[in-house]
Amino acid sequence: MSIRLEMRKMTKQYGDFLANEDISFTLNAGEVHAIVGENGAGKTTLMRMLYGMEPPTSGQIYLDGEPVSFDGPNDAISHGIGMVHQHFMLFSDFTAAENVVIGHEPKKAGFFRRKDAIDTVNKLAGQYQIQVRPNVKVADASVGEQQRIEILKVLYQGANIIILDEPTAVLTPIEVKGLLKNIKNLAEQGKSVILITHKLREVMEVADRVTVLRNGKVTGSVNKEETTADELAKLMVGRELQTISDRIQLNGNSLLEVNELTIKEKQEKPLLDRISLSVRRGEIVGIAGVSGNGQSELLQAISGLRKVNGGKVLIDGKDVTNQSVADIRLAGLSHIPEDRYLWGAAKQATVEETGLMGYQNKPDYNNKSILLKKQFRSLLSSWIKKFEIKTTSINEQAGNLSGGNLQKLIVSRELGQETPLLLAAEPTRGVDIGAMEYIHEALLQKRNNGDGILLISSELTEILTLSDRILVIYEGKIVGELTREEATEEKISILMAGGSKQ
């Protein structure tokens, strides 16, 4: 096998901070090479240098043995390097075919030949067995299909090296399977794939080689056959993973009661169809389901972000149905929202302001409408220390934090409210293993302290690790309930897809 790409002693320095230090990396033709590491380990910086978005401080890139340097992504693309970004770069009102060919449209006398575009996309899709409907509008396509459109776009641009940045973070379990198959196909047809991820299970399934980064340095580069997921995790985190705390059996009284909750829009099918559930003190109730089956609506209904058409929500015996968010929070609810940018933080606000949200009226931090920032800052710095939130200062804009670090900030903020009930929606989406451990540990601590948690997650492993009881939601209805003992991944998967309990 020939070496297609080599990066030699790549170093990137921002001020005093070494984001990448002497990183060397090779990629063969037809190989899947995974780069794993926690948030802030330097994966993104390395890829930005490869993709021409940042010049390296020192180091050299070789393509097919020739030294090259890229002046912007276009340069990288023309050298056959393509990148599928974590946040897709698609035009939502254009069709799949239009999105694939944009920039290099088939044309005749300046007119856009849309038919040719569709044919080309069909041909490419057939060649690499990537299923895409060329005429579907991107806004109507599932996240998985949008990703496949991105991959086709990169192939259409003539990429031989495909960088996939955290490709599975947004996918459902079934879509993940499909993507992994696509990756294998691409490699078999001679394409080289760089897979950036921190999900070790997927790495073990699809990669040929794995390079592990920690704190900007390579801590290991191994063949997949010669390693295990545990070893990789150790290389990533730099220590043994902790085992999760014991759960104390508690039989608390009921804390959250949801009765026949219904949300309906006009004549359409109800988004929530008479959902009833309860959470007791000292209990984590997990809600599993393919995303888009009513989880968002359920969260919004309970937290007061959305009006309900029928049913009741009681917190600690108090009826809070259709109350304002502030009143519901006062009644004893805190909420880790599912979308940290849309509901969890204001991107323009500083880290300090983001942390302060929800605390501004507490007497400890508010003296006759004057904020007591000094008191608050000590609380904030305790969070930053405990959760190892990486930020240059508390005056940094929240939007500039990496996704994982912002999530840690939001989680610590909501846990800090010390309310009896916590809604935790996708609490570890996009965070690294180390942070995930902290968050899981913190949630279990809260449970063991006698508080109740309603956990909504599209990660089955997360549901299975944390929940005392598991409910499965499908098309706005609760279609099954399993205890911790009887729940298996298989049983839940069947219910999630709309199958029966048997």
Binding site: S92, E105, L342
Partner: protein, 305 residues
């Protein structure tokens, strides 16, 4: 006097032209993600330049070209500030509007040495074109025939813009820039150049709209003679959802109101009341736009993660 006849429709078509031209300009700016509130000012500059051009060259054709050129220069200023220097497009647009009002008033005194309005009986307006055959059809002939070239051009331009946006590669890329500039940059489209292109086209269109106002309808210039037409065009853009064919429809609505307000004055209605008609319709139109605006803002937020 009847309140509805062929003459009403004929004057509607004449009134539509400036609104349609400017609304097309607004649409193409909206399509590259720039909300151009400077239409009003650009039209006013066009109207004034057309008179200046006409007065000094004596040629109607050169006057229209001059109007388009001067408006284009001012739209270049708008583009430089809002695209290159990243200033807030609404603030820049408002600035252009006030600049236009002041400059044209000043120009009236400096060039023609008059206050308020300028009129010269030797100046010729845009010639009326009679369409052969069509002009002989009863009713239809009276409605469709006998307008200035700019009126016919405005409809042709709407259709050309449709083909440009939805059939050509360049138009496709223009749409892409407005839909998602970050993504357009990531695939190497020259987003700034495309935005400049749109802003310049908008300037030309607004210049022609102004020429139609000052040469097509009355052959004179009065201070602030646009009287809010630029803002009505802006609403026409939104109501037509920045789609050329939709804009023809919405511009017709406002043109009809314009014509009707003139007609109703013949029914001893107070002029102040009838003059309100186009603006009342504008406000009513905003009610229908409300929901759409909220929905698109929501999706904007989500997609900008």
């Amino acid at each position: 006097m009847e309140w509805f006849d062929a003459a009403l429709l004929s004057s509607t078509i004449r009134m539509v032209a400036p609104i349609l031209l400017a609304a097309l300009g607004g649409a193409i700016c909206a399509r590259v993600g720039i909300f151009n509130v400077g239409l009003e000012g650009l039209i006013l500059i066009g109207a004034f330049s057309a008179i200046v051009g006409n007065y000094f060259t004596g040629s109607v054709f050169l006057a229209v070209c001059f109007a388009a050129g001067v408006s284009m220069i001012f739209s270049l200023l708008f583009g430089y500030l809002s695209i290159h220097l990243q200033a807030n497009a609404i603030v820049v647009g408002l600035g252009i509007n006030f600049l236009a009002l002041g400059l044209t008033t000043f120009g009236l005194r400096a060039i023609f040495d008059v206050k308020g309005a300028f009129y010269d009986k030797d100046m010729t307006g845009l010639p009326k074109i009679d369409i052969p055959l069509v002009k002989d059809i009863p009713f239809l002939g009276e409605v469709l025939s006998g307008h200035s070239a700019l009126v016919y051009l405005s409809f042709i331009l709407a259709i050309l813009l449709f083909f440009f946006l939805y059939r050509t590669v360049m138009g496709f890329r223009v749409l892409a820039v407005g839909m998602n500039k970050v993504a357009a940059n990531s695939i190497g489209l020259k987003t700034n150049s495309l935005q400049y292109l749109a802003v310049l086209m908008c300037g030309i269109l607004c210049g022609m709209a102004g020429a139609q106002l000052s040469l097509g309808q009355v052959t004179m210039f009065t201070e602030g003679m646009t009287a809010g037409r630029g803002f009505i065009a802006l609403v026409a853009t939104m109501l037509g959802q920045s789609h050329p064919i939709g804009i023809i429809g919405s511009s017709f609505l406002f043109g009809l109101m314009d014509a009707l307000s003139v007609r109703l004055q013949g029914f001893s209605m107070p002029t102040q009341f009838t003059a309100m008609l186009p603006y009342v319709i504008t406000i009513i139109a905003m009610f229908f736009l409300k929901d759409r605006g909220a929905a698109s803002q929501m999706s904007e937020q989500q997609s900008s993660r």
